[in-house]
């Protein structure tokens, strides 16, 4: 008992000291960026490559360019284990220091959204989180580029139509949605329901309880019975490799199974072995090492031994997605520096930078990302941009692009976003009205 009191006392004293200790570190000509990582826990399989990608891109910017316009970025990770409780701790810990909060889980984003509007800390939830937060008028502090789950669902329907040979061919077809039985998994349902009505296809739901992620046997029995023409997998973690394996076991044509972008890990597909060839997943970043930006990371970070990633893992899909997320952060810092004329920016400036973020083709080329991602533009009202995604196909060893980049059905998604944002704000009661002015450029 005494030991525990002593330890607690020591640790708590240290906590108080910590605030003082860290302050001077971020004083001059550095920008502090804390990222929620999950290198432990049941989702670490995805968390490790994502975290490595994020860290390596920032290290590369620091090593190659000496930071963003000469300002080094201090990158730190706060470990969450993909647990909402720990994510909230991380938020409380970093809110006074970091220039942007990077929650890396839908639960963490939902819990942070109300706080961030009071603490005036921008949230960058890249293609996850609350879809309604794409409404910049009601959620000035939340950013969800390059697209939302609702956009993803509409891309899936377009992809299905393209495979069948036209939107009119959708009539009478069956789309099955395998989804995690949690808020994240149920996200695409409203959009898919609307589109099913509009185009006359049938939507079948196959929920997977979080406890049964690796036990989908009975679910696939119903899939065999229903014989859907396509399957869309809104899954996460151990659920994805299991779905791929089950599809193979049940002789479901693997190229008719399309995962959301979070179901596109290399390990998700690899689990199916040779027969997983043809498994598809939506994507908004390219995989592979054949980009100048990845080469620079290899040269300046990995080969110098400053990364925890083995060389052959660089360029995997989720690694590159981490790189993409860090690119958004760095470009937003750059934009904020340009807007304010300051070198060391504050979270308020960062919000302005994110809101005026405009990474066009030319800029992508400059930063060595031509063909790596589609251009991203965020405006004052539209905090997502609803950008293009493409369908990636697993060729047995790596992800390749299948077909063109597909524009989401913005006219379907946007009204839903605005209606939901209004609903959220009304229910919250006393939601702060947007006072931040829009930039002239956006």
């Amino acid at each position: 008992m005494k030991t525990s009191i002593l330890m607690k006392g020591a640790a708590l004293g240290a906590l108080l000291a910590s605030t003082a200790a860290i302050m001077p570190a971020s004083a001059q000509d550095t920008i502090y960026f804390s990222n929620n990582a999950y290198r432990t826990g049941p989702f670490s399989g995805s968390g490790i490559p994502i975290g490595d990608g994020m860290r390596d891109y920032i290290s590369m910017i620091n090593e190659r360019d000496g930071g963003v316009n000469g300002v080094k970025i201090i990158y730190e990770e706060c470990e969450t284990g993909y647990d909402t409780k720990k994510s909230i701790e991380c938020y409380e810990q970093v809110k006074s220091k970091t220039i942007v909060y990077s929650p890396w889980s839908t639960g963490a984003t939902l819990a942070a959204i109300p706080r961030a509007h009071v603490d005036k800390l921008p949230i960058l939830s890249m293609a996850y989180g609350l879809s309604a937060s794409a409404d910049g008028t009601n959620f000035p502090w939340v950013f969800i580029p390059p697209l939302t789950y609702w956009d993803g669902a509409s891309v899936m329907v377009k992809h299905m139509a393209a495979e069948l040979g036209g939107m009119d061919k959708l009539k009478g077809k069956k789309l099955g949605l395998i989804h995690l039985d949690a808020p994240f998994g149920k996200e695409p349902i409203p959009v898919l329901e609307n589109l099913a009505k509009k185009y006359g296809f049938e939507l079948k739901l196959y929920p997977v309880a979080a406890a049964d992620m690796q036990n989908q046997g009975s679910l696939w029995l119903s899939i065999r019975r229903d014989r859907p023409d396509f399957l869309y997998n809104q899954g996460w973690g151990a659920m994805n490799p299991t779905a791929v394996k089950e599809a193979i076991k049940n002789n479901f044509p693997i190229n008719k199974l399309v995962g959301v972008w979070w179901a596109g890990g290399d390990d998700d597909a690899r689990a199916g072995g040779a027969e997983a060839k043809g498994y598809r997943s939506l994507n908004f970043n390219a995989a592979g090492q054949n980009f100048p930006v990845i080469q620079d990371i290899l040269k300046h970070v990995v080969e110098k031994g400053k990364s925890t990633t083995p060389k052959e893992k660089v360029g995997e899909n989720l690694y590159n997605r981490g790189v993409y997320n860090s690119m958004l952060v760095v470009e937003a810092i750059r934009t904020a520096q340009k807007l304010t004329g300051k070198k060391v920016i504050t979270p308020e400036d960062m919000r302005r930078g994110l809101e005026s973020l405009n990474v066009d083709e030319a800029r992508l080329k400059e930063i060595g990302m031509a063909g790596f991602a589609s251009p991203v533009k965020i405006t004052c009202a539209d905090h997502s941009g609803h950008h293009k995604a493409y369908v990636a196909e697993w060729d047995g060893t790596k992800w390749t692009q299948k077909g063109d980049w597909i524009e989401p059905m913005k006219d379907e998604v946007r009204p839903l976003i605005e209606a939901n944002a209004k609903d959220y704000v009304e229910k919250a009661g006393n939601w702060p009205k947007r006072t931040e002015p829009c930039e002239k450029s956006s």
């Binding site: 020591a10 240290a14 906590l15 990582a37 730190e76 639960g107 939902l110 706080r115 808020p183 609903d423």
Partner: protein, 359 residues
């Protein structure tokens, strides 16, 4: 020398029966309350209050709830998190229906819904005991968690499927919602926990508590002595679930501030609270606080405290070290004292009484 009853004469039955018969104990409680009321909110940083103290108070309350059931009545439950969830969802529905009623009243009332559900799932306890009962309460955990996801009415048909905590005030000061300061939320938590602990203390020292303990020690003997098992066991389930429900409502409204509640009230939380009760000490209220401190405060303090002390630990490494240290400490304490931290505390006090002349 400093801590002994010599010279403290009791002249009434009430004084003899007091929960804290020693003057030193009463002073100790007053000091602890003073620290909690004054020192913590005025000296602690926002992070300390919001991420250490508030979770500690809420887990303590949940652990007291489970301790009433498992420690005092001897009924093992693995459904604590689900009963907490019932409280949270009940509070959310209540504040939707009655937006003008004070949120603290609603938090207290939402525990009643949890108590009702708890009694329902406690019915099997009349026929089964031990591990079999644990399995029956596991059913509550799975069923209720399923319902939290599948019944959209519970989360007001929100597209995100999450509980969105609205702003509610007490004397015009925001208590819930994002504008509520950590200090305000802390004071509300502290008030609720102190009042409910006092209530629990009176219950376990009273007739009901004695009947629970009789049932725990041997239920057939208790029955022969005239204790109605039905009342005692279901009463324990009701009170325990009430505490859990209030803790759950506090968790979402005063700590998390909204979010994916179904995910929060998972079996992991149930186990965590069971471990708090076991490590803290079965059948002890102060043990519930020790257990909560051990499993909630210690990991946070290690994870953020060690790096702050200058130990070069970041991110995942800090997490791994925390896991290892907490795991080792659990084993250490359970070897040193299998009856939990509360028993160690008691031994410590006993030794203090005879100190410095233990002969």
């Amino acid at each position: 020398m400093l801590y002994r009853e010599a010279g403290q004469y009791k002249s009434t039955y009430a004084a003899d029966m007091a929960v804290f018969p020693l003057r030193e104990d009463r002073i100790g409680i007053a000091v602890i309350l003073g620290i909690a009321l004054v020192a913590v909110p005025f000296l602690g940083s926002d992070f300390f209050i919001a991420s250490v103290m508030i979770p500690f108070l809420i887990f303590s309350l949940a652990a007291i709830g489970l301790n009433i059931l498992t420690g005092y009545t001897g009924l093992i439950s693995l459904g604590t998190a689900a009963f907490m969830g019932v409280g949270a969802y009940a509070c959310y529905k209540l504040t939707t229906f009655f937006p003008n009623v004070n949120i603290i009243v609603l938090i207290l009332v939402s525990g009643l819904f949890s108590a009702g559900i708890g009694v329902l799932f406690g019915l099997p306890s009349l026929r089964i005991k031990g591990f079999y009962l644990a399995v029956a309460t596991l059913a509550a955990q799975f069923f209720l968690q399923w319902a939290f996801v599948r019944v959209p009415w519970l989360f007001n048909y929100n597209a995100s499927g999450a509980i969105e905590v609205p702003q509610r005030t007490l004397f015009d000061i925001p208590v819930t919602g994002a504008s509520a300061t950590p200090e305000t939320r802390y004071f509300v938590c502290l008030g609720l926990v102190v009042v409910l602990t006092w209530f629990a203390s009176n219950l376990v020292h009273g007739k009901l508590g004695r009947s629970w303990m009789a049932v725990r020690d041997m239920d057939i003997a208790a029955e022969l002595m005239g204790i109605k098992l039905l009342n005692a066991k279901l009463g324990a389930f009701a009170v325990s679930s009430y505490f859990a429900g209030v803790a759950g409502a506090m968790m979402i409204f005063l700590w998390y501030g909204g979010g994916e509640a179904a995910d929060v009230f998972s079996i992991r939380l149930s186990f965590n609270i069971l471990f708090m009760v076991i490590i803290g000490g079965l059948g002890s209220l102060i043990g519930s606080f020790f257990g909560a401190a051990f499993l909630s405060v210690l990991p946070t303090a290690l994870k953020f405290g060690l790096p702050a002390l200058g130990v070069p630990l970041t991110g995942a490494t800090a997490e791994h070290v925390t896991f290892m240290l907490v795991g080792a400490l659990i084993i250490f304490f359970l070897i040193v004292e299998p009856h939990g931290l509360a028993r160690l505390w008691q031994i410590g006090k006993q030794k203090l009484r005879t100190w410095p002349f233990p002969y």
